[in-house]
Amino acid sequence: MSERLDRRQFITQVGGGLAAAAIVPNLAGASSWTGRAPVRVGVVGAGRQGRAILGELGKLAGAEVVAVCDADERRLASGLRRVSGAEGFTALGDMLGSSVGLDAVAIATPTPTHKDVAVPAIEAGKHVYCEAPLAHTIEDCLAINTAARSAKGVVAAGLQGRSNPVYDLARGFFRSDSVRDMVSMRAQRHQKTSWVSPSRDPARSKALNWRLDPEVTTGLAGEWGTHQFDVFHWYTGQYPVRVMGHGDIRLHDDGRKVHDTIACTLIFPDGAALQYGATLANSYNGTHELFHGSNAAIKLAWSHGWMFKEADAPTQGWEVYANRQQFHNDEGITLIAGATKLSEQGKLKEGVGLPNTSLYYALENWLGAIAGDHEVACPIGEAVRATAVGIAAHRATRDGVAVDVEMPSL
C-alpha cells in the first residue's frame, strides 16, 4: 500500500474538523458552472448506457448535448427523443466533421468499438469520455492510450468509483488506517438479466448482442468486473499479478457460449486476495465491494457506503455523530453524502445515500476537468490497467485456468 497514511498523519492533515465533517463526501462543484459556457457534447452510442449518459448530461449545467450518433437508426431515433435540440448522425465521421460546434465526445458504444470511436475523436481535438472497459483487447487499449497522450483535449475513462463521493470518502478512511491490516477483499455483481437484446434482423441481432459473442466479449469479468477491480487498485495502489477463475452457465441455457456466472480470485503483490463473483442468474445483494481489515470492514455499494468496526478497534471522535444501520448481527456506520446538511434538515435516516448516480459524478468530474477545475479522476492509463486485469480475469474464468496478469507498459 504505497500511498497509505498512518492514522496520526491523517488526523494531522484533516485537523480538528474530523468530527462531523469527516463523514461528508465532497459534493462541491455541482452548481459551480455559473457564468461559463457549457461544453458542447456529442454522445456516440444511444443504447441503454448512451441514454443514461444523455439523461445525466441533461442534469449538468456544464454540458449541452448538441449531437447524438448511432449506426443503428432505431437507437439513434430513441436517443434523439431524449435530448433537446441535438442533431443526429449515423456515422462518426459525419458528426466529427459537422458544423454543430462539438467540443467533446462521450462514448457509449459496444466495448469492441471503443477504439474506432475514441481515437478519431481524440485526434479531432475533442475532449473524450469513454465508457469502461476501455476496449476488448490490450492492443486497442494501447492505441487509445497513445492517442490520449498527445490529446489536445481532456480524455477520461468511465471507471466511476474514482469520482464517486462516497468512494472518495471511504478511501480516506481506508488510507487513514481505520481498516488497519488488510485481511481480504471481496466483490460481487449479481443482477438477474439475460444480456440478450433481441432483434428480428440477424445482422442487427449480432451487432446488439456483442456481449454474448465469444469472439469479442470480455464477459462478466471484463464488462462488469473491470469497474470493481479498479476500486481495489485505487484504494490499495496495487494491481493483481495473477487470476484463478471458473465460470459456468447456471440459468440462461439458451445456446450461449459465454458464462452467466463466474467466480475468480485475484492475487495482489503483497499476497492479499480479492474474491470476485458475478452472475446473470440471481440478484441477491446486488453490486458491492468489501474490504476486510483487522480494525474494520468497509462495504461500498455505489450509492452507499458503510464501515463495520471491530469491537476492539479504537474509537474515533466522529463516530458519535454517525448514522448507523443494522445488518443482521452487524452495525454499519453509514458513510453518507452531505451528512451534516441532512442532519440539520432532520433527514438523516437509515438508508440515505448519494442523491445522484455514479455516472453523474463521473461526467461532472470530466466536465470540471475540461473547465480546468481539477485533473480527471480516471485518466486513460488507469483504465488501460483495469481493463488489462478485466481481460485476464475473463480468460481465467472462461478457460478455468490461472492466468498471469500482463500489465502493459504505458
Binding site: 439523461g55 442534469k59 434523439l80 435540440g85 440478450v196 437484446s197 433481441p198 439458451d254 445456446g255
Partner: protein, 303 residues
C-alpha cells in the same frame, strides 16, 4: 388475468412509478422463443425504469421535478419525448374540460399524495395557473400555481413504449400492467382469442377482452383512501365509483380513465375511438366502439 393455460411463458416484474409493473410473454409454437421473450421483456421493463427516472414526481432529481422548479421564471426547452407527452396531456385536458390536468401536482402534494405535503389540507383549492407549451420552440412554462404531475398518464405512456419495443423485437403476444390500473394486451394468449381482464371486484365487474388494446381503471377508494382529485375544485372525487377506458393507446386510456372518474360522464369531445365505462350507484354505463369486447356478468374468471 388469464394466460390461456400457457405453461411456457416468461414473466418479469419491476417496481416503478409507485407501482408494480408485470409482464407476461407466452412462448413456443408460433410465438417467440423464450430467449427472445426474456431479452425483449427485460428491455421493455428497462424502458419503464427510464421513464420512472425521468418523470417521477417522487424523485426530487427527476426531469419533471427540475421542470417544476425551473420553468416558472422562464420557458424551459425540453426533449421531444417529454414535450409530446405534455402536449398529449394538454390535449386531453382540453377535451375533458379540465377534468384531467397534469398541472395538479400542487393539489396532490397538499393532500399528502406526493413528497412535501402534510396530507392535512382542508382541500378546496383548484389548480391555479396553467402549463404553456410552445411547439415551435419546444418549451414549457409554468404559470401561476401549476405544478406538473404525470402520475395520471406516465404509466400508460411507459406501457405504450414498452409494447412497441416488444413488437419491434418480434414478440406477438404479451400482457403488461402497471399497478393493475393500466393493462395492455398484445395479440392473444395461446388457445384464446384475447386477453381477458376483470375490472374491480365482485361478480358484476366488467370483463374486458383485450387484443391489441389497453384498458385503464380508476376507482375512488383503493386502500380506503380518496386519491382521485378533481383539478377543477381540488377536492377528492365523489359520486362515481369507478371510471375506465378502453382503446389502442395505454397513454390515452390511462388519462381518460381519470378524466371519466372526475367528470362522471363521457365528455362530448372524448375521441370516438375510445370506449368509456362509468360505474355509478345505478350500475355500469358503457359507450364506444369496444362495447363488443366488454361483458357484464357474474361468471368468475381466473386472475
Amino acid at each position: 388475468m388469464c394466460d390461456g393455460g400457457s405453461s411456457a411463458s416468461v414473466r418479469l416484474a419491476l417496481e416503478a412509478m409507485g407501482a408494480r409493473f408485470e409482464l407476461v410473454i407466452p412462448c413456443g409454437g408460433d410465438l417467440c422463443d423464450p430467449r427472445t421473450a426474456r431479452g425483449a421483456g427485460e428491455e421493455a421493463l428497462s424502458l419503464v425504469s427510464e421513464w420512472h427516472d425521468r418523470l417521477s414526481a417522487f424523485d426530487p432529481d427527476s426531469l419533471v421535478s427540475r421542470l417544476n422548479s425551473g420553468a416558472r421564471e422562464a420557458p424551459v426547452r425540453v426533449d421531444p419525448e417529454l414535450f409530446d407527452l405534455l402536449e398529449a396531456a394538454e390535449r386531453i385536458r382540453g377535451q375533458s374540460e379540465g377534468a384531467f390536468d397534469v398541472g395538479v401536482g400542487g393539489v396532490m402534494r397538499s393532500h399528502g399524495f406526493r413528497p412535501g405535503g402534510t396530507g392535512e389540507t382542508a382541500g378546496g383549492e383548484a389548480v391555479q395557473g396553467e402549463i404553456t407549451l410552445d411547439r415551435g420552440a419546444r418549451t414549457v412554462r409554468l404559470v401561476g400555481g401549476a405544478e406538473i404531475d404525470l402520475g395520471g398518464i406516465a404509466k400508460g405512456g411507459a406501457i405504450d413504449g414498452a409494447m412497441a419495443l416488444l413488437r419491434e423485437a418480434g414478440v406477438r403476444s404479451a400482457l403488461m400492467h402497471g399497478g393493475t390500473s393500466t393493462i395492455a394486451g398484445m395479440g392473444a394468449p395461446p388457445g384464446a382469442g384475447a386477453w381477458t381482464v376483470r375490472l374491480g371486484e365482485g361478480g358484476e365487474a366488467p370483463r374486458v377482452h383485450l387484443r391489441d388494446r389497453s384498458v385503464s381503471f380508476s376507482s375512488s377508494r383503493p386502500g380506503g383512501v380518496e386519491h382521485v382529485m378533481d383539478p377543477r375544485t381540488g377536492e377528492p372525487v365523489a359520486g362515481v365509483l369507478a371510471g375506465a377506458c378502453v382503446g389502442a393507446s395505454a397513454l390515452q386510456t390511462d388519462a381518460w380513465a381519470t378524466a371519466l372518474m372526475v367528470r362522471g360522464e363521457r365528455p362530448q369531445a372524448m375521441p370516438g375511438d375510445l370506449t368509456s365505462l362509468l360505474h355509478t350507484p345505478g350500475g355500469w354505463r358503457i359507450e364506444g366502439p369496444d362495447q363488443g369486447r366488454i361483458e357484464l356478468g357474474t361468471q368468475e374468471v381466473c386472475l
